[in-house]
C-alpha cells in the first residue's frame, strides 16, 4: 500500500543520485513541484526519461541534475526551443548531456513493455529514418508468423517514476482523468513510484474517463496542491500558457535562468 508522505520526504526516499528517473505527464499533469524538489535536493548524474522533455526537464538540465536524457521530443510546445536543453547539447553547459533519442511511438511502447514485464516491444516505426543510426536501442525483428520485418525497442524500467494526479484516497489509491498520457505505463514500468496529487480525499468519487492506479501498485503519494503548475490538472487548474511563453525569455540566457531557479525553486519554502 502506498505511503502518504511529504514531497520532500518522498523525493529524499525515492530519487537517488545516478538513478534512471521518469517524470511523465503529456502536457497535462506534469509533476513540476516534484521536479523542483529534485533540484532543491541537489540530485546529480540522473538519467532523465521523458517523452516530451519540455520546460520541466529544461529546468532540471539547466540546474545540473542530468547526465543523460532518453526522450522523443524536446521542445517548448507551441513556443519553440528549449534553450537549456540546447545549451547542454550544443555547448555542454552546465555539463555534457548524453542523448538517447526515439519517436513518441517508440517511447510509449518501451513503457508498455516495461509495464508488461516484457524485455522489448514491437512496433511499425522508425523505418527509413536516421534515428536507428544513433542508438543500439532501435533494432529490427522478424515476425515468427509472417516473416515481416518489424522494429523492436527495449523495455524502459526506470528506477523511479514520478507523476502528478488529481486525487488519492488515504489508502494511496490514485485517480486521474483528462489526458492520461503514458503515466500508468510509466508507473507500472518503474521499480519505485512517487505520485503527487492535488488533494487527498476520504473517498474517490468516480469520474468519467478516469484512470485509477491501485495503492498497492504505487510506492508513495504526496499531497501537493498546484503541483503541476504551469502544466495543469483538469478540473483543478488550466494550463498557464503565458508562463510557457515567458519561459522562452527566462531560459534563453544562463544568468536569467540561474536567477529564476534561485528565486522560484531554491529559495522556496517547502512544508516538511
Amino acid at each position: 500500500m502506498a505511503k502518504l508522505v511529504s514531497l520532500s520526504d518522498g523525493v529524499a526516499d525515492l530519487v537517488r543520485d545516478g538513478d534512471v528517473v521518469a517524470l511523465e505527464g503529456f502536457t497535462h499533469l506534469i509533476p513540476f513541484a516534484a521536479g523542483h524538489e529534485i533540484i532543491r535536493q541537489g540530485r546529480r548524474e540522473l538519467t532523465l526519461v521523458r517523452m516530451t522533455p519540455d520546460v520541466i526537464y529544461d529546468q532540471l538540465i539547466g540546474a545540473g541534475c542530468a547526465r543523460r536524457l532518453i526522450f522523443s521530443w524536446g521542445g517548448n510546445p507551441g513556443v519553440g526551443s528549449l534553450h537549456r536543453f540546447r545549451d547542454a547539447v550544443q555547448n555542454s553547459w552546465p555539463g555534457p548531456l548524453e542523448l538517447e533519442e526515439h519517436s513518441h511511438a517508440g517511447m510509449a511502447n518501451r513503457y508498455v513493455a516495461g509495464a508488461s514485464g516484457l524485455p522489448f516491444a514491437v512496433l511499425r516505426g522508425y523505418t527509413g529514418t536516421d534515428l536507428p543510426r544513433h542508438t543500439d536501442n532501435i533494432r529490427t525483428i522478424t515476425c515468427p508468423f509472417t516473416g515481416e520485418t518489424l522494429t523492436a525497442v527495449p523495455a524502459l524500467r526506470p528506477d523511479v517514476t514520478v507523476v502528478h494526479a488529481q486525487r488519492a484516497d488515504r489508502a494511496g489509491n490514485v485517480q486521474m482523468w483528462g489526458i492520461a498520457g503514458v503515466q500508468k505505463e510509466a508507473v507500472l514500468a518503474a521499480r519505485r513510484s512517487l505520485v503527487t496529487v492535488e488533494e487527498v480525499v476520504d473517498e474517490l468519487e468516480p469520474v468519467p474517463g478516469q484512470v485509477v492506479l491501485p495503492g498497492w501498485a504505487v510506492t508513495a503519494v504526496a499531497e501537493v496542491p498546484g503541483g503541476a503548475h504551469p502544466s495543469y490538472a483538469q478540473g483543478y487548474s488550466v494550463r498557464d500558457n503565458d508562463f510557457y511563453v515567458e519561459w522562452d525569455a527566462i531560459s534563453r540566457d544562463r544568468d536569467t535562468f540561474r536567477d529564476w531557479i534561485e528565486g522560484h525553486v531554491l529559495k522556496v519554502e517547502v512544508q516538511a
Binding site: 503529456f26 497535462h28 519517436s103 513518441h104 511511438a105 511499425r124 516505426g125 489526458i179 488550466v238 494550463r239
Partner: protein
Amino acid sequence: MSPDYTADEMMTVAAARQLRDGTACFVGIGLPSTAANLARATHAPNLVLVYESGCLGAKPDRLPLSIGDGVLADTADAVVSVPEVFNYWLQPGRIHVGFLGAAQLDRYGNINTTVVGGEYDDPRVRLPGAGGAPEIAASCGEVVVIVRQNLRTFTERVDFVTSVGYGAGPGDRERLGLRGGGPRVVITDLGVLEPDPVSCELTLTRLHPGVTTDQVRAATGWDLAVAERLTTGDPPTAHELTVLRALEATKREKRGGA
C-alpha cells in the same frame, strides 16, 4: 497593389482547403493545428482532429498552444492514452491525413526536425526531434506538409531524416514497408508542390496569387521541377480570412484562471 492578406494567411488557407470533410487528420501543433481548425470552421465541419495527446475528435473553439491543452480533452469524442493513440489508431492506418511541419525538407519530401549542421553529437542547431512525426509520416493514408519556403528549409539534402517522404525516390516507401501513401502535397507561403507521379520529386504545381515561378525557384535549394500546367490558386475568401483571424485572436487572449 498589395493584397489585404499575408503570405502566412494564404499558406494557412491553402492548407486548410486540402482537408476534406469527414476525414480523420493527425494534427501537429502550430501551423497544422491552425489550418485544421480553419478547415473545421469553414468547409469541413466533420473533420476529425486527432492530437497525439490522445484526444480523438477534438473540437476546440479556440486555438490551443500545445497538443494537450484542456480544451482538446474537454471537446474530444474520446480521450485515450498515448500508447493507444499510436498503437490502435495511427499504426493500423486508421488516420487518413497526417499534417506535418518541417525544419528542413528535400525534393523527395523527407523531413528533418532533429539537428541542423555539424555532427549529430555536436550539432550547430539542436531541434526538438521526432515526436510523433516518423510514424505519422509512415502510417497515415497521406501526408500534408505545411512549411514556409526558403533556402534554409528547402535543402538539396536534409541533415537528418526524421520522417520519411519518398526516401531516395520511386519504390523506396514500398521497399521500406511504409504502409501510408506519403506526402501528397506541400503547402508553402509561395505556392503548392506535389510529388511527380513517376519520379516522386516535389514539383511546383500552383502559385499563390502574385507569386512568380522565379521567386519560388530562388527559395528552393535544388533545381525545382515546375509543372507544365502551372496554375495560380485562389486568394483567401473574405469568409476564410474572417474565420482565420478570429481563430488567431483566440491565441492572444489571456489564458488563466480555472
